[in-house]
């Protein structure tokens, strides 16, 4: 196996849960989260095999993968046709880990859907900072925005999630 493939294999084992959770928070359902994670790692793989060894060594994997995943989600949103939602509950999420009991999964699904309902700029900022727990610097790097903008968007996004959307009424 080539060196880049070894790096990739370790990357998958270390980050697949995190990238899946990221996709879940951004899209609001497990099926799309799986697709986002698959596309993210496929892009990562294709990039890695072209990188020289020193670039692979210097890679900040966590931030890099988040950046790729962010692009995947944005491109999907752009090309997306209106989705027909299956009403018979046939969403293929039967394979979750045993530690997640049914109640908790229902709560998580509800929260994920609420987060996914935020306007993109608030959603991305909130998810990077509070779901994925990146620092403001890392989040700003992944988003390609100034730290101040990210802070403002996180703040505003949290307010929207609390249903506390009264910024304007305070004047």
């Amino acid at each position: 196996m080539e060196a880049s493939e070894k790096v990739f294999e370790r990357m998958v084992h270390e980050h697949h849960d995190r990238v899946f959770a990221f996709g879940l928070a951004l899209t609001g359902n497990r099926h799309d989260a799986e697709e986002v994670a698959q596309d993210t790692f496929l892009r990562a793989y294709r990039a890695l095999v072209t990188y020289p060894p020193e670039r692979i060594r210097g890679l900040k994997q966590r931030a890099w993968l988040h950046q790729i995943a962010l692009n995947v989600v944005r491109n999907r949103a752009r090309g997306m046709k209106p989705q027909l939602v299956a009403l018979n509950g046939s969403e293929p999420d039967r394979s979750a880990g045993p530690e997640e009991d049914v109640m908790r999964r229902a709560d998580m699904a509800e929260l994920a859907a609420r987060v996914a309902g935020l306007p993109p700029r608030y959603r991305e900022a909130v998810v990077l900072r509070h779901v994925q727990e990146l620092s403001y610097d890392e989040a700003a790097a992944a988003l390609g925005q100034p730290v101040g903008t990210v802070k403002a968007n996180v703040h505003r996004g949290l307010k929207l999630l609390r249903g506390d959307d009264d910024d304007n009424s305070h004047g």
């Binding site: 196996m1 493939e5 990739f8 294999e9 998958v12 084992h13 697949h16 849960d17 995190r18 899946f20 959770a21 990221f22 879940l24 928070a25 497990r30 799986e34 994670a37 698959q38 790692f41 496929l42 793989y45 294709r46 999420d93 394979s95 979750a96 880990g97 530690e99 997640e100 709560d107 998580m108 929260l111 994920a112 987060v115 909130v126 998810v127 509070h130 779901v131 994925q132 727990e133 949290l158 999630l161 609390r162």
Partner: protein
């Protein structure tokens, strides 16, 4: 205030579905996918990747199959859904219609040559180990052919059960022992009793009086002849002396 950020943090701790890491590796071609298929032989585990089918085995459980594959083939393995088109191809393959590609990358060139040659034996026919050895240009390597077939990672699909001993005895079978070999060959239409009786009397080849051609006893071209026009030979020299030439289809002897 804290509960919302705590909940968000918990959302970030959600785990991917079981086996997801292996599926990701399969997605980029670094692991093989596998599924259980119901076939005419009963349930069979089949592994594949973008190069083709890479392994098959009748095993009691997925755990057993995964352990065997990781050890013997040496790649990662991810449980996949059963793709409808693959299921169809597998069914066709087991009924003698060749549609699958095979991934034999991990094998030696000799082993690959043996298995590729084995793929040429039609359903309902058998060939001796020595025939494979001669056809691939290693006439003395009969024993090595036996070993390569015993280690066939894709039994049933690469029909190593169609290779039998030169004395007409059925020989060993990696895909489930001599009994499994007998039942698969019988299912494919080989008349084992006739074949064994033939060999026990010291015969190797059958000739057809009207065409003056001699064949292996299961060869399609010999089977269509009327039984009373069939003559039996102990070896190629005897057949040639009687004015018969070797069949161009089953190639019973070097021309």
């Amino acid at each position: 205030m804290t509960t919302l950020t705590d909940d968000l943090k918990r959302l970030g701790a959600v785990k991917a579905p079981r086996g997801f890491a292996d599926r990701l590796l399969a997605h980029v071609g670094m692991a093989d996918s596998y599924a259980r298929f119901n076939t005419v032989l009963g349930p069979v585990y089949v592994a594949w990747n973008r190069n083709g089918v890479s392994a098959a085995a009748r095993m009691a459980s997925a755990v057993e199959f995964e352990a065997w594959f990781r050890k013997d083939v040496g790649r990662q393995l991810a449980l996949a859904g059963t793709p409808a088109d693959l299921a169809e191809k597998i069914t066709d393959e087991l009924h003698g219609r060749r549609r699958l590609r095979f991934d034999l990358r991990g094998l030696t060139p000799f082993e690959q040559a043996v298995l590729r040659k084995t793929l040429e034996i039609p359903r309902g026919e058998v060939r001796p180990y020595g025939w494979i050895a001669r056809e691939i240009g290693h006439p003395a390597a009969v024993r090595a052919v036996g070993t390569a077939l015993a280690n066939n990672p894709i039994p049933y699909f690469i029909p190593c059960h169609r290779v039998v001993r030169t004395d007409g005895k059925i020989g060993n079978y990696g895909g489930g022992g001599p009994e499994a070999k007998r039942s698969i060959l019988t299912m494919e239409g080989v008349q084992l009793k006739r074949l064994e009786d033939f060999a026990q009397h010291g015969y190797r080849y059958e000739g057809v009086r009207t065409t003056r051609v001699f064949c292996f006893p299961t060869c399609y071209h010999g089977k269509v002849a009327n039984e009373r026009n069939i003559v039996r030979f102990h070896d190629a020299a005897e057949a040639r002396a009687a004015g018969y030439r070797p069949c161009k289809h089953c190639r019973p002897a070097a021309a």
